[in-house]
Symmetry: none
Subunit: 127 residues, 4 copies
DNA sequence: GTGGTCTAGACCACT
DNA sequence: GTGGTCTAGACCACA
């Protein structure tokens, strides 16, 4: 389904969440579709089931999926996904800091913009 | 000098780092200027000296300050940091993660771009 | 696993680092192999866990090991370290200092060269 | 007389020692010649007198100079300089470790030798 | 005075 | 169980 990077500093459950989010947002996992069971996924990732469960629970909290006890876990309708504006603001803050730091490191405004654009470009190329 | 948010999810030493970096980048702390000693700062923040030291050491590793044992800690010359391509790459990575996360949060590519642009615009307005 | 010399002028965490590096380089600890946990090693060395952790973190920074929070610490693949030109430069610096010091100690350039050659010779003999 | 690098991790008194040693070994400071007084040198280096004094004391211990109370400090006869064989062995150990590490980093024996030679070459070029 | 190392112990998040 | 952070101290070498 996807791969984890143990060497990353990100915790494993976060990586699982991020990967699943990506699959949902990109439409690979469609609305209403059933996710693999905790056991299945934990086995295929060779990861502790608790870790997968934590990822599922957090994704449910954020509205991406819903868990039906005894039946399985399913992708929510798009409209269910809450826009976590607080989180968005936090990220905006981080972005600001990064850009400020780029300036401090000697990049011109233009260079910084080019760098950021490059990231968007990479992203859309990959798709 | 600045305030910490003990309730934040960010660890204290990271907050110390970010605050100091901010002060350096914004020019409040000038090149060559002496930072408060580990003990001073730890006292004024009512935080353990080890915590401040950890922040100082990491900032030194990133090139923002240099530590002279027995003398004190000083802001590096900008020229020391510039051309630090490794650091720029690291920031690029952070930016990537931020942008990825915006997508996760449901923003379209276009919305994310607009948000990032806004940051650049704010920056140039402020000047 | 190994022994520390508390009387040494080297700090404990450096001794831990050097010993582990030696074990990794010599192949006693193989790629991917799990290192003892911080607590285990600190206990078996009768040393504070923080001290071991410091050694582990520095070794991670240098690329020799990688740390997975909650899982353990593992020896990096060699390929991760190779081509680490920054590290090579750092070693070159150390070598320079050593050679400078030999000169300080009164060895002529020729004597120093002979000594260094001897090391290469030993190495190839041992093979 | 010479310059210090505060950003170096070497302690200042060690830098003073090393510089003076270099001047003595290279013959710039000749046998019997008077060294600058602690005050003079500490002033010209803008350094704490205690620091210079510590360097002088240590150099005396190693036989490079001798201190005559009330008169000044002088360069020893060459024959006085003790060959600190223990120290030489220690350095040899460090060199061994460095070279081992170079091998581990993927350098061939030949590449390592070339690198080490380069250092000797630089040194003699500078003279 | 400065930073550097270390101990003994605590609490936390993650696996 | 794992590592990560933090506190409240202590002692050291250096300036």
């Amino acid at each position: 389904m996807f791969q984890l990077d143990l060497k990353s500093r990100k915790s494993i459950y976060e990586q699982v969440m991020d990967n699943l989010k990506e699959l949902i947002i990109s439409g690979v996992l469609k609305e209403g579709e059933k996710l693999p069971s905790v056991r299945e996924l934990s086995h295929s990732l060779t990861v502790n089931p608790n870790t997968v469960q934590k990822a599922y629970r957090e994704l449910e909290r954020q509205g991406y999926i819903y868990i039906v006890s005894g039946l399985g876990t399913f992708v929510s309708e798009k409209s269910q996904i809450q826009r976590d504006t607080a989180r968005i603001e936090a990220i905006k803050g981080e972005l600001k800091n990064c850009i400020k730091e780029l300036h401090y490191l000697g990049l011109t405004d233009q260079e910084a913009k080019t760098l950021v654009f490059g990231i968007f470009k990479e992203g859309s190329d990959r798709k």
